[in-house]
């Protein structure tokens, strides 16, 4: 006779196993627990004799309780009991479990419910990890509402100041306003509401927007994050509003991107002030409709504070030069560059794109420094949509060789050799040579995402060094490491012996473990005697 619908065998179960089962099954706060404990005693007493009565009560109780539990709870119960149970009970238990599962519509039945339940239960536990990681974005976005108000106030102040300073501003206001409204609306959609308002204010001052084509942010999630970071500094900079014209959308993206990258390392607050200005200045430059703006924005992020508007007589070109220098410094650029940008924007609100194209040509030389800050190539290309055709080609031509040198040279030869071999091995089929180029592109993209994620994990942990735990979390997210396939198994499968030794702790005589297991860096000393 088996337990039937019961989840335990009345005859063979010991009181200890029953208690353990119950403890596993039920949360301590469950109202049903007292009921169960009551039933426990009679069960124990009547274990051998009264099979009927106790079975009747506990079964009903348990069955009633179990459906109320989360499906994951039961799986937790399973592995424990299975160890103590005979094969027969296990199969019966399986049946009961599977029946319960079906009733609850929790899971689909598998041949091996134990493994399934194992994976389920662990999934349930693992999920909080990923959930934890998500708030990364939310935190950033929460900043926006506050920034906007201060930002708007400052914007108004600056507007007044600016009007006093230059008459150009006034002339620009009327024609610009309409365009700005349009662009700001467009950008506002992509950014938070508050920011669009700011943009509107800015647009009123400068008139450049016409050709703006709002492009969807290249990396929306990234932009959002960047944007939140950026709005902080932005609000401090009232000037930025004026600079932001037309290309706000593009600029935002770039600024956000660059800001994000550069500022991630620094304090957000510290970087905020300079980055705002840079962002603004760059935004202004962008409005001129050139990829240069993007570059400068990236560079500008390191620049110093913008606070003052001055030198309305700067020419665009002269502005570019200081920008170049500013870019070189990466961090801690000076106001001049930004100011120049701003001024140049003011001066030539009505510049044609053709003019911009010319200046853009000069500007394109600067990108060499841009690559140091962040990869802007993808950002730049979309922004080129607005500018004339010659611009993009010019820019790309000049940018490519520089970027290649700085980024790809050390990597390409090494990586290509290894991945060609690996790919061939794994494919087990002849591979066309052109397809290797595709594979290379894929690996590039893959690595970019990889580094971004790893950096996000590390900075979430407040670290600047990517650790083993970060990579492990990454692999979990990629479903490479699951509860069924722990990391060590993967290590053993794929890495050569030397690396295995490094990664997997092995116990050696003398109470030593190689490599040393770190509980946490602070407790390192205490770990091994």
């Amino acid at each position: 006779m088996g337990p039937g619908p019961l989840l335990y065998d009345v005859i063979d179960d010991t009181p200890r196993t029953l208690m353990k089962k119950i403890i596993h099954l039920l949360p301590p706060a469950s109202p049903v627990v007292p009921g169960i404990s009551k039933h426990e005693e009679p069960e124990v007493a009547a274990e051998e004799g009264e099979a009927e009565l106790p079975t009747g009560r506990p079964s009903s109780v348990e069955e009633m309780e179990l459906p109320g539990l989360l499906p994951e709870e039961r799986p937790v119960f399973t592995p424990f009991t299975n160890k103590k149970r005979k094969q027969l009970e296990f199969s019966e238990f399986e049946r009961a479990v599977s029946r319960q599962l079906v009733q609850n519509q929790a899971l689909s039945l598998l041949d091996n419910p134990v493994a399934r339940s194992l994976s389920m239960s662990l999934d349930y536990l693992v999920r909080p990890d990923t959930v934890e990681r998500r708030p990364l974005r939310q935190r950033a976005e929460n900043r926006k509402p506050l920034d906007i108000k201060a930002f708007e106030d400052k914007v108004e102040q600056d507007m007044l100041r600016r009007k006093a300073q230059s008459c150009l501003v006034d002339s620009e206001m009327s024609p610009g306003s309409q365009a700005t409204m349009l662009t700001s609306v467009g950008t506002g959609e992509r950014r938070t509401q508050g920011y669009s308002q700011d943009l509107i204010l800015v647009h009123e001052l400068v008139d450049i927007m016409t050709p703006v084509s709002s492009k969807p942010p290249e990396n929306p999630p990234e932009n959002k994050q960047d944007h939140s970071q950026w709005t902080n500094p932005v609000e401090q900079l009232s000037v930025s509003e004026e600079m932001v014209v037309g290309h706000v959308s593009d600029k935002e993206e770039d600024v956000a991107m660059t800001v994000n990258r550069v500022d991630q390392e620094e304090d957000f607050r510290e970087g905020a002030a300079p980055s705002e200005e840079k962002g603004v200045a760059e935004a202004g430059v962008e409005n001129q409709g050139s990829p240069e703006a993007e570059r400068e924005i990236a560079q500008g992020i390191g620049a110093g504070s913008l606070s003052k508007h001055s030198n309305p007589t700067f020419s665009e070109k002269s502005g570019m030069e200081p920008l170049k220098d500013a870019v070189e410094q990466a961090d801690g650029l000076e106001d001049q560059a930004v100011l120049v940008e701003l001024d140049s924007l003011e001066e030539k609100p009505t510049e044609d794109e053709a003019e911009d194209a010319e200046n853009g040509g000069d500007f394109m030389k600067t990108p060499s420094f841009v690559c140091a800050a962040a990869y802007k190539q993808p950002l730049l290309t979309p922004s080129l949509a607005k500018p004339a055709a010659p611009k993009p080609s010019l820019k790309l031509q000049q940018a490519k060789p520089v970027l290649k040198y700085s980024r790809k040279k050390p990597l390409e030869p090494k990586m290509s050799r290894s991945f060609i071999r690996v790919f061939k091995d794994y494919a087990k089929m002849p591979v066309a040579t052109e397809s290797f180029r595709i594979v290379e592109k894929c690996t590039e993209k893959y690595f970019k995402q990889l580094w971004n994620d790893l950096a996000a994990f590390s900075s979430h942990a407040g670290r600047k060094t990517v650790e083993v735990s970060d990579v492990e979390v990454l692999m979990r997210r990629q479903k490479l490491v699951t509860d069924e396939i722990p990391l060590h198994v993967l290590i053993e499968r794929h890495l050569p012996l030397d690396y295995r030794k490094l990664l997997i702790p092995v116990a050696v005589s003398g109470n030593k473990v190689i490599p040393e297991i770190k509980r946490s860096s602070s407790h390192r000393r205490q770990k091994d005697a």
């Binding site: 991945f419 690996v422 790919f423 494919a427 894929c442 990889l450």
Partner: protein
């Protein structure tokens, strides 16, 4: 597989893209492992695509299809 993992190359990559971050000692090995597994997945998917197209070699189109299918993260 006696292949040396390009640890220095990996560190340079990270330096280029994320200037402030560093890789700890064994993390780069795991990153290499991740890369190998990614390549494996890509290759298997590409192989499947090639079979479906009844071709005996893996062509670029198969790989592009495979890359689209593989969801990162």
């Amino acid at each position: 597989m006696g292949r040396a993992a390009p640890r220095a190359a990996l560190r340079k990559m990270l330096k280029n893209e994320k200037p402030g971050f560093r890789l700890s000692a064994c993390a780069d090995l795991l990153v290499h492992l991740n890369f190998l597994l990614f390549l494996r997945r890509l290759a298997e998917e590409a192989r499947t695509n090639a079979f479906q197209n009844r071709s005996r070699i893996i062509k670029p189109e198969h790989i592009i299809l495979a890359a689209k299918v593989i969801e990162h993260f």
